[in-house]
């Protein structure tokens, strides 16, 4: 199996065979099923996938944010050499917000409405650094300025509800930066924002990654957003990594049939194109399909092969790999009854 960029000497983050399941009343949900990847200092990794692909659960597993009835059942997550799976809550809390900063979709909800943004930001700064209140306030103001909030001094004393959606998102990014993280994890950070505000936040991520030389994991259903910021991609489908590679490799030469169809289904604002739709619906992860989890929707599925065992990961160029039987000698072409986009409409 490839481990992404082979030149990365000792990775900052190294995830191996990570498996997270949810033990619900209805049964066991196989949300993340044996994913592995590495991240070097300063890397920008985009995790792309549709709802239920496991992209959020996979990063929440890294930082120990999986709650009951969820459980990490297998695998390791090495952060600078230490395995975070099974680490104590105290150790995880110390890493979260300090070495690893996190930003989520709904910024307003991430703040306590009863305290000013400044109070919360000052607390975050002091949690990680031994500063006087006055020095922490200065630092908090500098953080708000860094993320592009105008009149930072006054805005420190405003409550979260007084912030617009875009401002709140910037403020949450400032919170995540308070511990001077080496890795920033952003989960759908621009979803729900207007396109003009979204463009501003994308610009901000680009600047922060460059200026702070920190690594970034950006999770989004929107490939446009990810491609604007990240150099390496993971494409997830139904809890597994379908394909990995550089931005260039995945966008110009996608190998996995899911990646290919996913790219073709994205509407282009610059031309009218024939949108491909992926037949069927994403699988129910209470009872995931056997073999390759994409096989029931795949136009290239070879019955008797793709529906038996999980596919091997096939390497292409450096860092580019796809988990698909199409590139193996056993593959005999699609079965007669494979779904086509036309048949399903």
């Amino acid at each position: 199996m490839t481990r992404d960029d082979p030149s990365a000497a000792s990775p900052l983050l190294s995830v191996r065979d990570l498996t997270t399941r949810f033990y619900t009343d209805a049964g066991v949900v196989s949300a993340v099923d044996g994913i592995s990847y590495d991240l070097a200092a300063g890397d920008t990794l985009g995790i792309v996938g549709e709802s239920g692909s496991g992209k959020s659960v996979s990063v929440r597993s890294i930082v120990g944010l999986i709650e009951e009835p969820g459980r990490i059942d297998a695998g390791t997550v090495h952060w600078k050499g230490t395995d975070l799976v099974g680490a104590s809550d105290r150790d995880l809390r110390a890493i979260r917000g300090a070495e690893i900063g996190m930003v989520f979709q709904n910024a307003q909800a991430a703040f306590d409405p009863t305290y000013t943004v400044g109070e919360q930001l000052i607390e975050a700064v002091r949690a990680h650094r031994d500063l006087s209140k006055a020095a922490a306030r200065e630092e908090a103001q500098a953080l708000l300025e860094e993320v592009g909030i105008p009149n930072a001094a006054q805005n420190l004393d405003n409550y979260p509800h007084e912030y617009s959606g875009g401002m709140a998102q910037r403020a949450m990014i400032a919170m995540a930066l308070a511990g001077e993280p080496e890795l920033l994890i952003a989960d759908e950070p621009t979803t729900g924002l207007d396109v003009s505000i979204q463009a501003q936040i994308i610009e901000l991520f680009r600047r922060l990654v460059e200026e702070r030389e920190m690594a970034l994991i950006l999770i989004s259903h929107d490939l446009g957003v990810v491609s604007q910021v990240c150099e390496r991609f993971l494409v997830m489908y139904a809890g597994r990594i379908a394909e990995r590679g550089s931005r260039e490799q995945l966008l110009t030469d996608p190998k996995h049939p899911y990646t290919q169809l996913f790219l073709e289904s994205i509407p282009d604002v610059d031309t009218v194109d024939d949108l491909a739709s992926i037949p069927g619906t994403p699988p129910n992860l209470l009872e995931p399909p056997s073999g390759c989890r994409f096989h029931p929707r795949c136009p290239k599925a070879d019955r008797g092969l793709c529906d038996v065992d999980p596919p091997p990961e096939i390497d292409f160029e450096a860092g580019h790999a796809a988990s698909c039987y199409v590139y193996t000698d056993d593959y005999d072409g699609p079965a007669e009854d494979v779904p086509t986009p036309e048949a399903d409409r």
Partner: protein, 344 residues
């Protein structure tokens, strides 16, 4: 109440009678203050919108949150009272009094199929509900509903007796569309019909809407924030900013050669799927849309406008004091900017 039909003067010469005509529509929400509820101002959600919608076409109304596009649609369909202005359907004034016949002809599809479907009803009952409401007693109701399910791409045998929670998002949207089709309408108003869906499923729903238009000759008014969706499905587009239409025209020409600086910036802001980020010359819209209860003077857009920097102080003064009217600039194209079209 005058119900007589008369000719509505179309906005564009030579295009004939529109199916839906909206004239200077206004929807204000009063802002009150204190325990006495004193009226201290208005949020001008829709502030003088006019457009025509022709039979068989798809008009998209696009804009960011708070631009008034949803309020406009809800006022047109009679879910909200108008503050001022008129709405005509087939030449009949239906402003604030949609009668039962028109109500059948105009149906609505919502963004979130999850919240609009009654969780305790089966799919079959949900789709049949409009027939019940309108007192249409057909003996073949079940067969008709099954046919509708088939039309929207749902296997009737599998889903007729299913409950909404058993369906995926895309399947629920299909049920919403089947229900909207039950009364055989002429006009479908769709408010963000694909925004809650994953992109691969979104493509399925957009395709379905196009197929249905071809099959039944439907007319669509689509409300969306998603410019990519507009490009794929609409014939014409109206761009709204702060309660007003700032640009209107055929989709291809508006998108390829936007005239209003807001349209230009909006199109430029969309994050394209790219292998070379940061190399495009983007126009970044600074700041957030202003508060609609206290809109800027003159042109609504002037505080965020990138054209303003190129204007002389006298020209800037005009932007700040004089509201630019939406005016025809050839063909079906309209724009509300003092300085556009270019080179005028």
């Amino acid at each position: 109440m005058s119900e007589q039909r008369h000719r509505v003067e179309p906005l564009t010469m030579g295009r004939g009678q529109p199916l839906l005509a909206v004239r200077d529509l206004k929807k204000y929400y009063p802002v009150t203050s204190g325990i006495l509820g004193r009226h201290v101002g208005d949020v001008k959600a829709v502030d003088g919108v006019s457009f025509d919608l022709y039979e068989g076409e798809t008009l998209a109304v696009v804009g960011e949150s708070g631009c008034g596009k949803s309020s406009m649609a809800e006022t047109v369909i009679g879910l909200r009272d108008t503050t001022d202005g008129e709405v005509y359907f087939r030449g009949e004034d239906i402003t604030d009094h949609l009668d039962s016949d028109v109500r059948r002809d105009v149906q609505m599809i919502f963004q979130d199929p999850f919240s609009t479907l009654n969780e305790r009803m089966t799919v079959g009952r949900i789709v049949a509900e409009p027939l019940v409401i309108h007192g249409e007693h057909r003996t073949d109701r079940e067969a008709y509903v099954r046919e509708l399910l088939d039309t929207v791409g749902l296997d009737a045998d599998q889903y007729y007796n299913a409950f909404p929670h058993e369906l995926s998002g895309g399947q629920r949207q299909r049920v919403g569309i089947a229900r909207a089709l039950a009364l055989n309408p002429d006009l479908l108003i769709a408010d963000e019909p694909s925004s809650a869906l994953d992109v691969s499923i979104q493509a399925q729903i957009l395709e379905l809407l196009e197929d249905l238009q071809d099959e039944f000759g439907l007319t669509y008014l689509i409300i969306t924030h998603d410019m990519s969706v507009v490009r794929q499905v609409a014939d014409r587009v109206a761009v709204m900013y702060l309660g007003k239409i700032v640009e209107l025209g055929e989709v291809g020409t508006v998108f390829d050669d936007p005239q209003h600086p807001y349209t230009e910036a909006l199109l430029s802001s969309i994050p394209r799927v790219t292998t070379q980020p940061g190399e495009d010359d983007r126009i970044t819209l600074e700041g957030s849309p202003p508060d609609p209860s206290n809109p800027p003077t003159g042109c609504n857009f002037h505080p965020r406008c990138h054209l303003k920097a190129e204007c002389s102080p006298e020209e800037q003064d005009r932007c700040e004091t004089e509201e630019p009217p939406l005016r025809a600039i050839g063909g079906d194209r309209q724009v509300a900017c003092h300085w556009r079209p270019r080179g005028e």
